[in-house]
Amino acid sequence: MKIVLQNLTKVFPSRNKKSNEEVVAVSDLTFTIPDGKLVGLLGPSGCGKSTTLYMISGLQKPTGGQIFFGEDDVTSLSPENRGVGLVFQNYALYPHMTVKQNILFPLQNLKGADKLDKNTMLERALEAARLVQIDELMDRKPSELSGGQQQRVAIARALVKMPRVLLLDEPLSNLDARLRLQTREEIRRIQRETGITTIFVTHDQEEAMSISDVIVVMKLGVVQQIGKPQTVYDNPVNLFVAKFLGTPPINVFKANVKGGKLYISGEAVLDVPGVCDRDVFAAIRPEGFVPDDNGAMTCSLSSIEVMGRDVSIVSKNEAMLTPTIRSIVDADYKVSASAQSVKFNLKPHKVFIFDSETEERIYFGNQTAPETGI
C-alpha cells in the first residue's frame, strides 16, 4: 500500500516553560512512498526522521498536514487502528514474556474478520520466527537473547500480523558491526519476501544506501532529496546531501568559476561550461580523482594507505574545507611515498559545484537536475 504524506508538520512546545520558543521537528513534509518499497529515512540526529516515523505509526499526532494510507486519510486515526508494525530502536520486547508469547501477542489482539484460531496463530508465529531464523529460541525470555536475536524477535513481532506498513526505528543501532551487516541483509530479504511497504529510520547513510529502494534525506525537519540511493549519491541537489552520502566523505573546496573554468587555489581544474563567474563550493567524490603527473590540480601529499584493491591517497590543499583530501584510486597506481606533492585530473561527473551562499547545486556540462520524487 502506498503512503502519502502531505504538508506534514510537527511542532513541539518548548521544554523551557519561560521561553515560548517552539521546536519545529518536521516542517511541511510532502512525499509519497510507493507500495511494496523499502524506504530509508536518513539524516543526522534531530533531523525529524524518527518523528516522521512516529507520525506514520500514529504514536505522535501531526501539528499540521495529512497522512494517507492508500486512499484513506488516517491522520487522526490512533495507532491501534492503523494496522502498522513498528520495530523500536531498543526493540521494546515485553521482558516478562517468552519469545513465543512476544510474537503471539499481536495476533491475540486481532479482532473481527482478522481473528485467528489458536492453531493458526501458533503456525503464523512459527512462520514469522522461521523467517527471521529464531524458531530455535521460542521459549527463551528476551533477557536471555543477544542484541541481534532480540532485534529479530522484534521484527518477527512486528511482521507476524502482516501489517500494511512496517516501520523500523534505527533497528541496527544497538548491534555490533558484523551483526549489523548481516541483519540489514536479512531485513532486505524479509521485505522482499513479504512485499510489505517498509519504512526505516537511520542516521547511517551506508546502511540506508545498501538496502533501500528509495532514500529520503532530511535535515532539520525538511526533506532535502528523495530518490534511489545511487541517484541521490550520483546527483545530490545540495551540498548537505553531497556531504551526507558517501564513505569516505566527499571532499569540499572553496572555489570560484571564472570564464567557464573552475578554479581551486588558483588552478583551473575543470571546465564548467554554462556557469557564470561566481564563488562556489566544489565537492569532489574520492573516486573522482585521477592521479596524473600532468594533472590540473596540485595537492601536497600526506600519506598513502593501501587497502586491498584500493589505494587511498591522503593529501592537502589550502582551499579545502574538509580536514584532508581523501582520494581513492586503483591499486595499480604507484606513487612514491617520498613525493612532496601529487597531481590529479578530475572526472567531471564526480565533481559537483554549489552556490557558496545557498549551497544549492549548480549544474554544468551534461549534468542535469535529478527527478524529484520516486
Binding site: 505509526s57 500514529g58 504514536l59 490512533s78 495507532p79 491501534e80 487502528n81 494496522g83 502498522v84 508494525g85 513498528l86 523500536f88 531498543n90 521494546a92 515485553y94 521482558p95 516478562h96 514474556m97 501477542f105 499481536p106 491475540q108 489482539n109 486481532l110 479482532k111 525470555k141 533477557s143 513481532r157 512486528a158 500480523k161
Partner: protein
C-alpha cells in the same frame, strides 16, 4: 595473590567498622529485646511485676504457649487477624493499582490528584481514627429518629437503607466491613506511591508497542502493566501481609479498647491479645503469643516470597 588476600582482609575489617554503629545499636535495641522476649516466653507464668514483687524463680517450660492457645478467644483472634488480612490486602492492592494506573493515564490535574491521594500518608492517625468513628456512628441508635451518620446518609442517596455499622447490635460482617474500609483507606497512599513510582519507571515503549499491536485497554492492563509491575506488587503484598497480621490500632480506633461493637462479636486480633496480656502484666504470655505471631508471619512471608518468585517476572 598475597596482595589480593590482604585487600580482602582489609575489606573485612573496614566493612565491620562501617557497620559497627548500626550493629551496636541493633544489638542493644533490637537483638537484646528479641532475646529477652524468648526468655520471658519460656518462663512459666512470668510477669515483670511478679518479679519486681519478689517472685524470682520461674519454671522453664511451655506453659505460656499452652495458656495462649488454650484461651477461649484465641481462635477468634486468629480468625479476625486472618480475615482482615485476607480481605484488606487484595482489596487495597487492587484499588491502589487501579488508582495508580488511572493517575498515570491522565494529564490535567494529575499532580493535584496525586497529592490528594498521598495525604493520608502524612496525617495523624489519632485524629483520623476519631473521624472514621464519627462517620460511621449512628447517634441515637434504637431511637425513633436517629442520625445515621454521614456514610449512611450518602448511601441513602443511592436508595440504600441505613446500615448499622458499628453501633449496638451491629453484625460481625458490618463491623468487619468498616474495619476493611478504614484499613484500606490507611493503606492506600503507600501502595499508590509504590505502584505509581513503579509505573512511571516502566519504559513507555512497551505501551507504544502495545498500541501499535492494537491491544485492548484491559489486555494492556492484565498482560503488560500487571506483569511489569509484578515486583512492586509483590512488595506491596508482602508488606501488606506483614502489616495485616499486626493489625490492632485501627480496631481500637473505631471500637475502643473492648475491641467489639456493643453486644457484638469479638474483633480482637493477635496483637490485641498481646497488648491485653501486657496490660494485665502477663509478659510471659504476651511473649509467647508474640512468638506464635512471628512464626505465622514468617511462614506466610515465606509462602508469599515463594509464590511471588514464581509469579513475578524478571
Amino acid at each position: 595473590m598475597k596482595n589480593f588476600l590482604q585487600k580482602i582482609k582489609f575489606d573485612q575489617w573496614k566493612a565491620w567498622i562501617y557497620l559497627s554503629p548500626a550493629i551496636v545499636l541493633l544489638l542493644i535495641f533490637t537483638v537484646w529485646p528479641i532475646f529477652n522476649t524468648l526468655r520471658m516466653a519460656f518462663w512459666n507464668g512470668y510477669g515483670l511485676f511478679k518479679e519486681l514483687g519478689g517472685e524470682l524463680q520461674f519454671e522453664f517450660g511451655i506453659k505460656n504457649f499452652k495458656w495462649v492457645v488454650g484461651y477461649g478467644g484465641f481462635l477468634d483472634c486468629l480468625k479476625n487477624t486472618m480475615l482482615l488480612t485476607v480481605l484488606t490486602v487484595p482489596l487495597s492492592t487492587i484499588l491502589a493499582l487501579v488508582i495508580a494506573v488511572s493517575l498515570n493515564a491522565i494529564k490535567p490535574f494529575q499532580r493535584f490528584l496525586q497529592t490528594i491521594f498521598f495525604l493520608p500518608y502524612v496525617t495523624n492517625s489519632i485524629a483520623i481514627g476519631m473521624v472514621f468513628e464519627a462517620m460511621f456512628n449512628i447517634v441515637g441508635f434504637g431511637t425513633s429518629n436517629p442520625s445515621y451518620g454521614i456514610i449512611n446518609n450518602i448511601l441513602g442517596v443511592f436508595g440504600v437503607d441505613p446500615i448499622n455499622w458499628i453501633n449496638a447490635g451491629s453484625g460481625y460482617w458490618a463491623n468487619i466491613a468498616v474495619l476493611v474500609i478504614y484499613i484500606v483507606w490507611n493503606a492506600l497512599p503507600f501502595k499508590i506511591l509504590i505502584l505509581l513510582g513503579g509505573l512511571q519507571s516502566v519504559n513507555k515503549q512497551y505501551y507504544d508497542a502495545a498500541k501499535i499491536d492494537s491491544t485492548p485497554r484491559l489486555r494492556v492492563f492484565t498482560k503488560i502493566t500487571v506483569p511489569l509491575l509484578s515486583p512492586m506488587i509483590a512488595y506491596v503484598v508482602i508488606t501488606g501481609f506483614i502489616g495485616g497480621f499486626k493489625e490492632y490500632s485501627s480496631i481500637v480506633g473505631i471500637f475502643g479498647d473492648d475491641m467489639h461493637a456493643v453486644g457484638g462479636e469479638s474483633l480482637n486480633t493477635m496483637v490485641g491479645y498481646i497488648y491485653k496480656q501486657l496490660g494485665e502484666n502477663h509478659e510471659g504470655d504476651a511473649s509467647a503469643a508474640a512468638l506464635i505471631l512471628f512464626a505465622i508471619i514468617f511462614v506466610v512471608t515465606m509462602i508469599n516470597m515463594y509464590v511471588s518468585k514464581k509469579k513475578t517476572h524478571y
